[in-house]
């Protein structure tokens, strides 16, 4: 399920009510939407930096203390105590200046805001780049991100296509028992936490039937070619099936509602009255009108489910962003990594939202910017 379906609902509503039918889509619409996205991103980054400032400073102080300890051990034994103390103090001050720990609070917050905004997350506090060198947060995230994208985009393509197909079918047979069943299925699955369905899947298919591994970790190592891909696929089937099962019902329901509301329009009645075949009414006339909200809603549903999918990764120990986040929160208490993940998630969300907006504006030429309704 979309973890926050209320956002999505509002969005659709927003689209339906903010449309004014007087002017074609203009550059103004695109510019304003883009500006909106940048503002949102800045607001969120500022919030992240503000809230995490204290924690990040604490961790940096720990880092400084550790560096100073290392430096002190590296000094020659025979050095006089006085000089030794002085050198250590100088080094400590140098490190504090390096991290800017004694700068004014707001300066630190603003610097962090900007650094985060340009994807410069610095070094992780305790986590390392797996199989690599160093501890740059961006590299750690980039190590895990591809797995999330692999699992998530594959599932998204499947459930969106399945949702549209099932939704169209339901709209064709609106009012029948099948339609009602599909509606109920959509409602019930969207009140289920996706990751909980994942837990049930492990209970049934791993513990009960033993078909799939309960944990996706560790990924196949030391094998190549077909063996590697089949190993990944075997680990991917259950999390993927979980995401699809939980999300496609709600999607189908949304598609069905959009299509049925178009089916009540006068021009559809007219088409039917003049004897256009029902198939053509649905796939030709109706889909043409309903496609902008269907496409944007699909993009949004995809974005909304990021949160739920990240927790699903935790359940299946799928080594992606969600798994990394859980480890950063629970085991490593690694503030820079958490900041990085939160920013990247937000970034993907805002960019996706912007794309949804622009696609809508592109597909539906009636869209024009402005809050006032001029019907």
């Amino acid at each position: 399920m979309a973890i926050f379906p209320d956002d999505q609902k509002t969005y659709i509503h927003n689209l339906q009510y903010d449309i004014s039918i007087t002017m074609p889509a203009s550059w103004k619409y695109f510019a304003l939407r883009t500006l909106n996205a940048v503002i949102v991103l800045l607001v969120v980054v500022f919030l992240i930096s503000l809230l995490f400032s204290h924690l990040a400073d604490e961790q940096l102080e720990g880092t400084v203390a550790e560096e100073v300890r290392g430096y002190a051990q590296g000094l020659p034994e025979e050095m006089p105590v006085e000089e030794r103390r002085q050198r250590i103090e100088e080094y400590r001050q140098e490190r504090i200046d390096h991290y800017g720990l004694e700068d004014p609070f707001w300066e630190k917050v603003l610097r962090r805001t900007w650094d985060t905004f340009i994807f410069d997350f610095g070094d992780a506090n305790s986590m390392q780049v797996p199989g690599g060198e160093g501890s740059a947060v961006i590299e750690i995230i980039m190590h895990y991100l591809p797995r999330t994208i692999l699992l998530f985009t594959t599932s998204a393509v499947i459930y969106i296509l399945l949702g549209i197909a099932v939704g169209l079918k339901a709209a064709q047979v609106a009012g029948t028992r099948l339609d009602k069943f599909l509606s109920l299925f959509g409602i019930v699955t969207s009140s289920m936490p996706m990751w909980w369905v994942g837990m049930l899947a492990i209970l049934i298919f791993s513990f009960g039937l033993g078909w799939f591994p309960a944990s996706a970790y560790p990924f196949p190592v030391g094998v190549e070619g077909w063996e590697y891909y089949s190993g990944v696929l075997r680990r991917m089937i259950m999390p993927m099936a979980t995401i699809v099962l939980v999300l496609f019902g709600g999607r189908a329901w949304a598609v069905r509602n959009m299509v049925t509301s178009v089916l009540q329009d006068d021009y559809i009645m007219a088409a039917r009255a003049k004897g256009v075949p029902e198939k053509k009414v649905i796939y030709g006339h109706t889909l043409k009108t309903a496609s902008p909200p269907i496409v944007t809603a699909a993009i949004l549903a995809f974005l909304m489910s990021i949160g739920g999918a990240m927790i699903t990764e935790v359940i299946f120990t799928w080594p992606g962003m969600g798994y990394l986040l859980r480890r950063a929160i629970f085991e490593a208490h690694d503030v820079p990594v958490i900041m990085g993940i939160v920013f990247i998630t937000t970034f993907l969300w805002v960019v996706g939202y912007l794309i949804a907006d622009l696609v809508y504006g592109y597909l539906d030429p009636r869209v024009e910017v402005g809050a006032e309704k001029k019907v």
């Binding site: 399920m1 973890i3 926050f4 379906p5 209320d6 956002d7 609902k9 509002t10 969005y11 509503h13 927003n14 909106n36 503002i39 949102v40 607001v43 969120v44 919030l47 992240i48 809230l51 995490f52 204290h54 924690l55 409602i187 019930v188 009140s191 289920m192 936490p193 990751w195 909980w196 837990m199 049930l200 492990i202 209970l203 791993s206 513990f207 309960a214 509602n257 049925t260 509301s261 009540q264 990021i306 949160g307 739920g308 990240m310 927790i311 359940i315 859980r326 929160i329 629970f330 958490i338 939160v342 998630t345 937000t346 969300w349 805002v350 939202y353 402005g370 809050a371 006032e372 309704k373």
Partner: protein, 474 residues
């Protein structure tokens, strides 16, 4: 300016009348009422649970990983129920200072008790130690000495206490050695005998070739005999007892820390309603004020408010929840506050668009031309019209709120001081409930989330249909 009840009364009664015709809505409402009763009376139905969920002493008398009592009806095989013996009637003996107590256990189950725990507490005025023997006499007449120990009597208090469970190292060893002789009898050439065996199983099993590999429950009467030898012995009956820990317990079973999941579930419902209720009511209130103000004044006020709202709508909820809860503190109130601050934005949009329609109604126009104040018009004439919509939309928010809270628990950001469905599921995940087959531990808290979510969706959608006739065509 004040809110008068009469403005709302008529509207409420007409809505209530129509709502009664909505079957799903009434079902949802029924579930909500049931949950509300549980939530309100939780401290009496499940006393001593909320603050002591992590206090393992609180749950020490329960079985570990026990299925719900109704598991017997849906799954093959029969399971031993939880059996606590608090009576401590000793039998007459010839020897002074010797107490013998026997407990009879009738095993009529495919899955016999998972553990036997014994606590003996007493006084002896003269002896410095007391001898304690615990024997297990089986249906087939075979005997196992479970424990043979001496317990020190406190010099000042003159009291002694012995706690024993067959899962202790001594218990495991004694039972394994006993079963091993039967195993070797059947498998004389076995060079690699099974090592770990659940100690409760051979106790109740046939002494056949499967005793260590796959013990089969032997039905019949068993006797647990406790012998205590001191000099001037007195048993404290209040503090002594024997537990045959069941394979099934309570309405919802127990987790791996012996916690009664039914009691946790009641608090899960309570906190789901508290968080969902507070967030949605607060969001409705803010959204109504914001949306109505925007709709009533129109013009540049509306334009500016909508711009602000659009920026808010663009902010993703989930990352914001993560950073605020991680940095401010793992408290349910932080969650409630943050969710409310961002939660009203969508609702405000919907309310504004309805408000614009109401603003154009003749009676509002009339009130304006009669010179009524803005606040008066909004509260007296517009809010009563809009409130049912707001309530319906607010109800539809609740499932997402509860799922979000639960999801954060699984990420390690749950409130550690209260019991929620999410916390129970996080513990199930960390306690490897899925790969151990403890289905009740996963299934039932999840059903709690669905039940709360479904009831509010059903009620909210029914209310939406009642107040918005346009939706009924679909």
């Amino acid at each position: 300016m004040s809110i008068r009840l009469e403005d709302y009364k008529e509207r409420i009664s007409s809505i209530a009348k129509e709502f009664k015709g909505e079957r799903m809505g009434m079902l949802g409402l029924g579930i909500i009422v049931f949950m509300l009763i549980l939530a309100v009376f939780a401290p009496w139905i499940a006393p001593d649970t909320d603050g002591r969920w992590a206090d393992y002493d609180r749950w020490a008398d329960n079985p570990r990983n026990a299925a719900p009592v109704w598991a017997d009806y849906i799954l093959p095989g029969s399971r031993a129920p939880h059996d606590i013996r608090e009576d401590f009637d000793d039998m007459p003996t010839d020897e002074p200072g010797l107490k013998v107590i026997e407990y009879h256990y009738h095993n009529d189950y495919d899955y016999p008790p998972g553990d036997i725990s014994i606590r003996v507490h007493g006084r002896d005025e003269s002896a410095s130690t007391v001898q304690i023997w615990i024997d297990w006499i089986r249906e087939d007449g075979k005997e196992i000495t479970l424990l043979d120990t001496s317990s020190t009597v406190g010099e000042e208090s003159r009291e002694f206490e012995e706690r024993y469970t067959i899962r202790s190292d001594a218990g495991r060893e004694n039972i394994y050695d006993w079963a091993y002789t039967y195993h070797m009898e059947h498998h004389p050439d076995d060079e690699d005998p099974p090592e770990r065996v659940d100690p409760s199983r051979p106790l109740f099993a046939y002494t056949d070739e499967n005793i260590l590999r796959d013990p089969q429950s032997q039905r019949g009467d068993y006797v647990l005999r406790i012998e205590i030898l001191g000099e001037d012995l007195e048993i404290n009956e209040e503090a002594s007892r024997v537990l045959f820990r069941g394979q099934i317990y309570g309405l919802m079973g127990t987790d791996s820390n012996r916690r009664d999941l039914a009691q946790g579930w009641i608090y899960g419902a309570r906190y789901a309603l508290i968080t969902g209720g507070i967030v949605s009511i607060a969001s409705i209130a803010i959204a109504t004020v914001f949306g109505m103000t925007s709709a009533y004044f129109g013009g540049w006020v509306d334009e500016a408010m909508q711009r602000i709202n659009e920026i808010l709508i663009g902010i993703p909820m989930f990352p914001i929840l993560i950073i605020t809860i991680y940095s401010i503190g793992r408290s349910i109130w932080v969650f409630v506050a943050v969710y409310t601050i961002l939660g009203w934005r969508g609702l405000a949009k919907i309310i504004r668009s309805r408000g614009i329609q109401i603003r154009q109604d003749t009676y509002v126009e009339a009130a304006v031309s009669l010179g009524s104040g803005s606040g008066r018009i909004i509260l007296r004439h517009m809010v009563p019209q809009i409130l049912p919509y707001a309530l319906a939309e607010g109800a539809l928010m609740i499932p997402a709120i509860i799922i979000a809270e639960a999801g954060l628990s699984v990420l390690g950001l749950g409130d550690p001081t209260i019991v929620t469905f999410g916390r129970m599921l996080d513990q199930a995940n960390r306690g490897a409930a899925t790969v151990s087959g403890y289905w009740w531990w996963v299934l039932l808290p999840g059903i709690g989330i669905i039940l709360v979510g479904f009831s509010f969706i059903a009620a909210g959608m029914a209310l939406e249909r009642v107040v918005n006739p346009k939706m009924r065509q679909r």
